[in-house]
């Protein structure tokens, strides 16, 4: 079979027989769900960890919390995400007797994994904000947490937006491993299309194209976001 035949066979499966519906309704949807929710969870937990790490450390509680965070970040950065998925899905959750389904497991693990990376990105961002901003907030009688949330973190996010965009892109591409725990994503759908007549070239090319377009759109989105956040800078 030459490439044209392959392509027309793929196109029949993909378009005429309605395979694209599954690509969008399952593959793309799950990929995006895992990546977006993963990033949201990552930013929330990551910011929390970063805030704990920059806390003044002369009391006991911040010291303990800091230790816990170090272990957390150490584990999630120290093991591959596939290992974390497998551990959670086949070992930890069955042991605990909970069953939350493969998609939710993926969202959770991607979120927790991303949090470890985002925490370091966010810490750098927080440290890039002039310490006078924190001092001014505290001097007005605001506590550490409200000053952090209202003043420092918004400015930190502005500074780290390009790096956060990187993290999101990496997250989108990393979702291609979720079929390890029986979740359906873009990769899984296109593999199944390929499995139908044992021809993988065209489906995988199409998959690559979708990933590229997706990531170009994300890049554009972050550029727009950056522009919007920098409106309080002098032109």
């Amino acid at each position: 079979m030459n490439f044209l035949d392959e392509w027309s066979a793929f196109w029949r499966l993909f378009y005429t027989n309605g395979g694209y519906k599954r690509v969008f309704s399952e593959g793309l949807k799950n990929t995006l769900t895992i990546a977006i929710l993963g990033l949201v969870i990552g930013i929330l937990i990551g910011t929390l960890i970063a805030a704990i790490k920059v806390m003044p450390k002369y009391k006991t509680l911040p010291k303990i919390l800091n230790g816990v965070c170090n272990v957390y970040v150490g584990f999630f950065r120290g093991t591959p995400i596939v290992v974390q998925l497998l551990l959670a899905y086949y070992v930890l959750f069955p042991l605990m007797g909970v069953s939350i389904g493969s998609l939710r497991t993926c969202i959770l693990i991607f979120g927790l994994n991303s949090a470890a990376y985002v925490s370091e990105i966010m810490r750098a961002g927080i440290q890039s904000v002039d310490s006078g901003q924190m001092e001014a907030g505290r001097a007005l009688g605001l506590g550490f947490t409200p000053t952090m949330m209202k003043i420092v973190v918004p400015q930190a996010i502005k500074n780290i937006l390009p790096t956060l965009g990187n993290e999101f892109i990496a997250l989108i591409k990393d979702t291609s491993v979720v079929s390890f725990v029986a979740a359906v994503d873009l990769y899984k759908v296109f593999t199944e299309i390929g499995n139908a007549n044992y021809e993988y070239l065209a489906p995988y090319l199409m998959m690559a194209l979708i990933y590229i377009v997706l990531i170009m759109m994300v890049t554009l989105l972050f550029k727009l976001l950056e522009k919007r956040l920098h409106r309080d800078d002098r032109a």
Partner: protein, 273 residues
């Protein structure tokens, strides 16, 4: 002049009593650097105190210890019946009543001028009204009152047209005046100024000093760390000359400037005057 008696009476009410205040910073593993060596001082209500001294004398650290921006390592600071140096005391509650103005202005860069002024009053009043669970009408009222107050303060310094501008578009003098009214919006009992004009271009120093002078005339209690000797002489009731982490000389300005007792005060004044 009619309230001259009242003014004198006010000056005897002790607002902040500082006893044995010490601050040391660790340098390396074993050594510590003593910046403040057991300082005793009393700040009376309505009093204007200027703190002068050579660089490294601990005057900024002294000021920053008063609202625990630097945690004192020893001694006590009694304000409203509580010891601020005690780590168990809720310092945030007291900082609401102690305004602070920084050398570098420190306006919130991500907020407009109006938001800068309203942020702390709205947050703290809403928190007292129940935080997230406060009634919507109450929240709205707090917001409106804060806005009115903020606009009133902005009109006072003639910058009401900058209400929706971001700090990055303002001049240094404008930023510092907004920083001052941001502190005023909390209706503080005392204002701390940490070299408020040192980061300004010379032509902008005047507008900031004018505003501080106005506050002084209105009877605000203030402690000003400054290099503006002329201003200290004019506005202050008392001048503290600091050197080597202690208050070396404490006297009314006319006395300290024209007839300093200590040789090191004389030496310092001869250099700066």
């Amino acid at each position: 002049m009619s309230n001259q008696n009242e003014m004198n009476k006010e000056l005897t009410e002790e607002l902040i009593v500082i006893k044995g205040l010490s601050k040391s910073f660790p340098i390396g593993k074993k050594k510590t650097l003593n910046v403040l060596n057991s300082i005793d001082a009393v700040i009376h209500r309505g009093e204007k105190i200027a703190v002068i001294g050579p660089s490294g004398s601990g005057k900024s650290t002294f000021l920053r210890c008063l609202n625990c921006m630097e945690d004192p390592t020893g001694g006590s600071i009694i304000f409203n019946g509580e010891d601020l140096a005690d780590p168990k005391v809720d310092i945030n509650k007291h900082r609401e009543h102690i305004g602070m103005v920084f050398q570098q202005f420190n306006l919130f860069n991500n907020k407009t001028v109006l938001q800068n002024i309203m942020l702390a009053p709205i947050y703290l009043k809403t928190k007292k009204a129940g935080g997230l669970f406060a009634k919507r009408a109450v929240k709205k009222q707090i917001r409106e009152e804060a806005k009115e107050k903020a606009m009133q303060l902005l009109r006072r310094i003639g910058l009401e047209d900058k209400a929706n501008a971001y700090p990055s578009t303002l001049s240094g003098g404008q930023k510092q005046r907004i920083a001052i009214i941001r502190a005023l919006a909390m209706e503080p009992e005392v204002m701390l100024f940490d070299e408020p004009t040192s980061a300004l271009d010379p032509e902008m120093v005047g507008e900031v000093l004018d505003l501080i002078r106005q506050l002084a005339n209105e009877g605000m209690t203030m402690v000003i760390v400054t290099h503006e000797m002329g201003f200290a002489r004019e506005v202050a009731d008392r001048v503290l000359f600091m050197d080597g982490g202690i208050i070396a000389e404490d006297a009314p300005p006319h006395e300290l400037f024209s007839n300093p007792k200590l040789p090191r005060t004389q030496e310092f004044l001869s250099k700066v005057l």
